[in-house]
Structure formats: structure tokens, C-alpha cells
Amino acid sequence: MRKLEVDKILEKNGWSKNKIVGILQDIQDSYSYLPEDILIYISEKLNIPLSQIYSISTFYRAFSLKPKGKYRIKVCLGTACHVRGGYMIAEFLKNKFGILPGETTEDGLFSFDTVNCLGACAIGPIVVINEKYYGQMDVRKTEKIIKGLENEKNKQF
């Protein structure tokens, strides 16, 4: 296991039980999900019941217990994006990938989530792919970008 890396994160948070949410966030940032073995390790090290860690991991949206895809797509379904038709983009991706929000395609290339507002409402609908924000999106533009990413993958192999 990646004890050393995890220890570093625990160290940064002062090995403090109170910082468990922050610790899990750092883990999520590093691994893009919360691996089971790490959660068990933290539970032992900080003496927090695993059940409690599990309840925190599932309560907060920021955490995922499953690995995410190479391209992590977030579609905003905040009110401003919703009234401008953002839900159609989500609908499109569901059909395109055959997955539900929160899931990852079988080839591990795309994962797709919906989010309630990213704070860029003025140029909604918003789609975020990895860390890049795309404004004034519609189904057509989304499709184009995804095609581009798929082609990139084909080039690599």
C-alpha cells in the first residue's frame, strides 16, 4: 500500500481526528477516489471506527468510493444552467455513454457526474472536463469535445 503518501497527508493534517473530512479530501485529490485499503489504514491509525469513516465518505458529495475515469466530466445542473437547458446535456451523456451520473465507462475513459452549480452561472450551461471549464455549452458542443477526446485516445494506441 501507499503508506508513505498517506502518512504524509495525515502528517499535514496533524494526525487529528477532527480533520478527517480534510484528510479524506486530500486522499480524494491524490487518488481521485477513496481506496478501501487506505480508509482501513486511516481508521486504524487515527482510531476512528471504519463505519464512521464510511458514513462521512458517503454523506459528502466530494467523495467517491469508486475510481474515476481519465476524463472526468461534470455537467452543471444548478438552477441557472437548468433553465438554459443544461439537463439536456446530462441526458445526452447518459445516452451516449450508457451510464448514470456517478459512473465510469467500462474502458475507464470517461466518468460523468452532475453538480449543483459551479459558480460560473452567468455563462451557463457549464460543463467541466477535468479542471477545464466550458461555458455556454449545448449538446452539440459537448459532443464535439467528446469526439475530440475519443480521437485523442485512438491516436495514443
Binding site: 487529528s16 481526528k17 477532527n18 480533520k19 478527517i20 473530512v21 480534510g22 479530501q25 458514513s55 462521512i56 454523506f59 459528502y60 458529495r61 466530494a62 467523495f63 445542473l77 444548478g78 438552477t79 441557472a80 437548468h82 433553465v83 438554459r84 437547458g85 439536456m88 441526458e91 445526452f92 445516452n95 451516449k96 453538480v115 449543483n116 452549480c117 459551479l118 459558480g119 460560473a120 452561472c121 452567468a122 455563462i123 451557463g124 457549464i126 479542471e131 471549464y133 466550458y134 461555458g135 449545448d138 449538446v139 452539440r140 459532443e143
Partner: protein
């Protein structure tokens, strides 16, 4: 930089900065925050830096700033001192700007804002979007580099803190805030001075101050913009508040989805520490205070005070019953003062200018300004700061320029999931905490989502309940079950399976939830449903009796079909239909297979000839 140890040293630094900065004759400010970056401002910034280097003139400076607010026209730049405003830029425009405007002082007309009649308006202050605004909190957004504390200091930053620490007692500070009439900007509108006073008088130590930057309302980004554009104003407000209530420890609880705000806040706090505004013995006054950042976990309910505090303690963010207020027993059971980002950011202005200057703005019961995020179907979207008392009509039509594509206004949603939709007949209502409550909505934190004829009000009610269903913590039955039941009914109505008695049942459940839920998430959850029933009753009836959605939103009540006269057989729709529901050969009229169609609307948006219609 060496730590500043006294008030005199701070003034000395300011003088030194004046000496340096007064030489900067032309400042080109590029707004670089989440929204503007999404629109492409980073490329503009890079290109400008590159080209300006070639000019080799120390009097010209390019800085990255927080947002100027007019998001609709991003990426944009402002050239000071004249405040020339260039909009919708691409990197290719940069060379021309430098050649003409920077070198020769000429205006590049094609890059300026044009009004309805095509009249060129080159200067920022003359644009209608800005005319009716009053910028107190946002006054430095767009003028300072948020990652450079010296910019803030140069424009008078930390003078309020200096004034407080060098000559005001905590009681005097509280009195000043009380007299100003400042009320909490996080939604509830509780008088800030009173809250501080309660917390000061509460027994127990340590005491905590917290800044609520969780900004959970969808469609709202005021707090993000304040932090991304001028983080020190929030920090300065917090230090003053901490001094007033007697606290040495503070937290900012910041929303998970705001990576840039988090980054800028971190930088700002580190710089404030380095310069001696945070830490031990601030400015040699003997007062010590520091701030820690806690990242939220992406749960809406954590914006609620007790849930937020539980979350800081490392627990699941569930609210508790408030028999005892958090000003007495809050974080770790100690007296805690929680205020919203914008509330804190108002404090330096009040201290610097005196309560009178603040109280002269606004209405009897709502003083100062309020920042709104004006979004949805309005022409000029963006961030606006207006004096309290301005009417909704002025905001939406004068500042916002009216409805996009000249469609018909239907309603404006304020207050997020706790608020309601305000119909046209109340557009002349002034922005005021109490007046907005009277019509069933609320001021809320500042999201203002404009809706037009293409927005279905039943769908809006359903949308918010769906949101709340995900976000209710589930601790108490009225909220958890009430939301579920209401959502089920609304789902039915939007599917064309509604019954006439449904409306009465919705009202009944609402009544119960308002009375019996544990926290405000539950007690206010019915607001979007109740306001839409009150003001858009016909739309509900239309869905229930005629099984029609006149806005064309509710999927089960609409149908897409090909207008055979307009279809050119270009095959675009067929290629793009995700379920291959469209049949037809090239240059022949196409047909939608109703069995297969999932009504995603892709063909409708994609067709270049408007040959797909909806009924």
C-alpha cells in the same frame, strides 16, 4: 517582506507603495476568475503580457484581477485610468489594442460595447449595466490583483483594522456595526451587530468566528467572486469581528467546488500572516488572531450554521435543534459567531466611512448594498451590486437589459431552494429583506435567476424538490419524507398523471413541513412549490387537466416532429440522434420514430433549418 509591527509602519508602507504605483500610468486589467477564465481570459492575459514586454514602457502594467461583473461579454479588459472597456476579445485582438489604444490613445471601436441602437459606448461607467449599480463591496474588484496584498494596501486596505486596533474598544466597534443596520447577507438577514454583541457577552473561551463561504444556492456566485476578486476585504472584516467579540481563532468554511477561490484565499491568508495582519500581536496592538481554512465536502445542508460547525469538527454535517444558539454554544460547544462572506466584506467599509455613510443607503429596514448574481434568461448576465431598495424591474430590465432574444418575462427566482418565484406583477417591489418575504420569497444569499416563457414553473418546483431530496440530511422525518412525497406528486404532474386534488395535498404537506422540520432547509423547502402554485396556478392546471406543458419542457408532455416543408434532408439530425430515432436518406425528408425518441431535444437544437418542431 518584513512583518509590519505598528500602525506607523503600515502607513509608511502605503506611502512607499504610492511612490511605486503612482508611476504606473496605464493599467490594463484582465479579469481572471472562474467565469472569465472559462470564457478564455487566460489566453488574453498571456498575449497581453507578451506584447507589452515588447513595448518596454515601465508606466504600463498588465494585471489579473477579480471580475468586473459583466460576465456576458467576457473575456473583457479594462484599461485604466479612463476605464476603456473592451469586450468579447480573442488573443488576435491584442496587437491592435496595443498599437492603437496603448500607443496612440485611440479607441478600437469594434471591440467596444454597443447599446441596443448600436451606439458605441467605450467607457465602463457609461454602460447601462453599470449605471444603476453601487459598488461598495465590489469597489476594488477589477482594480486589484487578489494575489497581491500590496495592491489592497495601496487602495486603503487594512486601514479599518488599524483604526479599530489603535483606538476603538470592542464595544464601540459593535455599536458602530449595530448603528449601521448591517444585516446578514447569507440569507436570514439577522442584524450583524446584535449577533456580535450576543457572542461577546456569551460566557466561555475560546470563542470562534467563522466565515460561511459554502455558497450552496445553485445559481449564486457572489461569495465566490468576492473571495476571488478581493479576499483581503473578507479577512479584514473577520479580524475586526474577532476583536469585537473577543476571539483569537477563526475559520473560513469554503465550498468544495471553488478551487480558484480556495487558492486565492490561501495565498491571501499567508500574505496577511507574513505582513503581520494575522498571527500574534497584530500591528503591535497586543491582539492576536489567526484563520484556518476548512474545505466543505459538497453538501448543501452544511451551509446551515450547526451543520457547518459539525462539519468543521470532522463529523457528518447534520443540523441540530437550536434550543441554545450558536453564539452561546457553537463550534466545540463554545461561543461562535458565524457570518457570510459578503457580511464580513461590508465591515471594513462601515468602519472606514462611519455607520452613517452606510445607513444612508437603502430602505428603513435594509441598509447598504446587496450583491446579486443575475443569471438565467436575462440579456446581461453577471454580478451586480445594487443599493437596497432598488426595484426588481430596475435590476432585470435596466441593468440586465431585459429578457434574452426578446422573449416574455415570466418570473424571477430568488433565495435559492428556500426562496420562491416572483411573478411579473411584483416586479416593482423594492429589494428589501422584509418585502421579499411578504410575497413568499426571500432575499436569500443573492442568486437571481430570471425565467422566461420557455421556463416551466411546475418543472422549476420539481427541480428544487429534486435538489433538496438529494441534499436533505435525512435526520428528521417531516423534511425527509415530506420532500419525497411532494417530489413524487410533482413528478406525476409533469408526466401528465396529475390529479386535481394533488395541489391541495401539496399545500397540506407544505404546511406540515413548515411547522415540524428541524432546520431551515426543511421549513423553507415548500417555498418554491407554494409560490409557483400561488402565482402560476394555471400552469399546474394545464399540466393536470390538459396534460400540456406550454413551455415545452416536461418531456412526457411534448413531442418532436419534422416540419416536412423545411426539412432539406441534410441528415444532421439523424447523425446526432443518440438513439438513432431519426430515419431518412440524404436529400429526402426525415422522420422521427416516436417509439424510439427519448425527447432529449438534440435534433431540435441542432437543426440549421429549424425543421424540427415541438408540440
Amino acid at each position: 517582506m518584513k512583518k509590519i509591527n505598528s500602525f506607523e509602519e503600515l502607513e509608511k508602507l502605503r506611502k512607499k507603495l504610492k511612490g511605486i504605483k503612482d508611476k504606473e500610468k496605464i493599467i490594463i486589467s484582465v479579469c481572471m476568475e472562474t467565469g472569465c477564465i472559462a470564457a478564455g481570459s487566460e489566453e488574453i492575459y498571456r498575449e497581453l503580457r507578451k506584447e507589452i514586454k515588447k513595448v518596454k514602457n515601465k508606466e504600463i502594467k498588465v494585471i489579473k484581477t477579480g471580475c468586473h461583473g459583466f460576465s456576458e461579454v467576457d473575456p473583457a479588459i479594462v484599461i485604466y485610468p479612463e476605464k476603456i472597456f473592451y469586450i468579447r476579445l480573442s488573443p488576435n485582438d491584442v496587437k491592435e489594442i496595443i498599437e492603437k489604444t496603448i500607443k496612440k490613445g485611440e479607441i478600437v471601436e469594434r471591440l467596444t460595447y454597443k447599446d441596443e441602437k448600436g451606439q458605441i459606448i467605450p467607457y465602463l461607467d457609461q454602460i447601462p449595466f453599470y449605471k444603476k449599480q453601487k459598488r461598495l463591496v465590489l469597489s476594488l474588484n477589477g482594480l486589484i490583483d487578489p494575489e497581491n496584498i500590496e495592491d489592497y494596501i495601496y487602495y486603503g486596505g487594512y486601514t479599518a483594522l488599524s483604526k479599530v486596533l489603535s483606538g476603538m474598544s470592542p464595544e464601540e466597534v459593535i455599536e458602530e456595526i449595530k448603528k449601521s443596520g448591517l444585516r446578514g447577507r447569507g440569507g436570514g438577514g439577522f442584524p450583524t451587530g446584535k449577533k456580535w454583541e450576543y457572542c461577546r457577552k456569551a460566557e466561555g473561551y475560546p470563542k470562534y468566528v467563522i466565515c460561511n463561504a459554502d455558497e450552496g444556492d445553485p445559481g449564486a456566485f457572489m461569495d465566490r467572486s468576492v473571495i476571488e476578486g478581493n479576499p483581503h476585504s473578507v479577512i479584514e472584516g473577520m479580524i475586526i469581528g474577532a476583536y469585537a467579540i473577543g476571539s483569537n481563532e477563526g475559520y473560513v468554511y469554503i465550498r468544495h467546488e471553488y478551487p480558484l477561490a480556495l487558492k486565492r484565499l490561501k495565498i491571501a491568508i499567508e500574505q496577511a500572516r507574513e505582513y503581520g495582519f494575522l498571527g500574534e500581536n497584530i500591528l503591535g496592538s497586543g491582539f492576536s488572531f489567526d484563520i484556518d481554512i476548512v474545505r466543505g465536502g459538497g453538501a448543501f445542508v452544511c451551509g446551515e450554521s450547526t451543520a457547518l460547525m459539525a462539519s468543521i469538527e470532522g463529523k457528518v454535517g447534520e443540523p441540530r435543534a437550536k434550543y441554545i444558539h450558536t453564539v452561546e454554544k457553537g463550534l466545540y460547544e463554545k461561543p461562535t459567531c458565524l457570518n457570510n462572506v459578503e457580511t464580513w466584506a461590508n465591515v471594513p467599509f462601515i468602519i472606514n466611512n462611519g455607520w452613517e455613510k452606510f445607513a444612508e443607503i437603502g430602505t428603513d429596514t435594509s441598509k447598504g448594498t446587496k450583491i446579486f448574481s443575475l443569471v438565467g434568461k436575462v440579456k446581461n448576465t453577471g454580478l451586480v451590486e445594487v443599493p437596497m431598495g432598488i426595484t426588481l424591474r430596475e435590476i432585470i430590465f435596466d441593468i440586465g437589459g431585459g429578457i434574452k432574444e426578446n422573449k416574455k418575462f415570466k418570473g424571477v427566482q430568488t433565495g435559492g431552494p428556500s426562496g420562491g418565484v416572483i411573478p411579473e406583477k411584483y416586479l416593482d417591489l423594492p429589494v428589501d429583506f422584509d418585502r421579499l418575504n411578504e410575497v413568499g420569497s426571500m432575499m436569500g444569499s443573492g442568486g437571481m435567476i430570471v425565467m422566461d416563457e420557455d421556463t416551466c414553473m411546475v418543472d422549476v418546483a420539481r427541480y428544487f424538490l429534486n435538489f433538496l431530496k438529494e441534499e436533505s440530511c435525512g435526520k428528521c422525518v417531516p423534511c425527509r419524507e415530506g420532500i419525497n412525497q411532494m417530489l413524487e406528486i410533482l413528478n406525476r404532474i409533469t408526466q401528465g398523471k396529475g390529479k386535481k386534488e394533488d395541489i391541495e395535498i401539496l399545500k397540506e404537506i407544505s404546511d406540515f413541513m413548515q411547522k415540524a422540520s428541524l432546520c431551515a432547509l426543511g421549513t423553507t423547502a415548500p417555498n418554491p412549490v407554494l409560490t409557483t402554485i400561488t402565482y402560476f396556478y394555471d400552469e399546474y392546471i394545464n399540466h393536470i387537466e390538459q396534460k400540456k406543458c406550454s413551455a415545452g419542457v416536461c418531456k412526457d408532455l411534448i413531442e418532436y416532429f419534422v416540419n416536412t416543408e423545411k426539412c432539406t434532408g441534410c441528415t444532421l439530425c439523424a447523425k446526432n440522434c443518440p438513439v438513432n430515432a431519426i430515419e431518412g436518406e440524404r436529400k429526402k425528408i426525415h422522420k422521427i420514430n416516436k417509439e424510439k425518441c427519448i425527447k432529449c431535444g438534440i435534433c431540435f437544437t441542432i437543426c440549421k433549418f429549424n425543421a424540427i418542431e415541438r408540440k
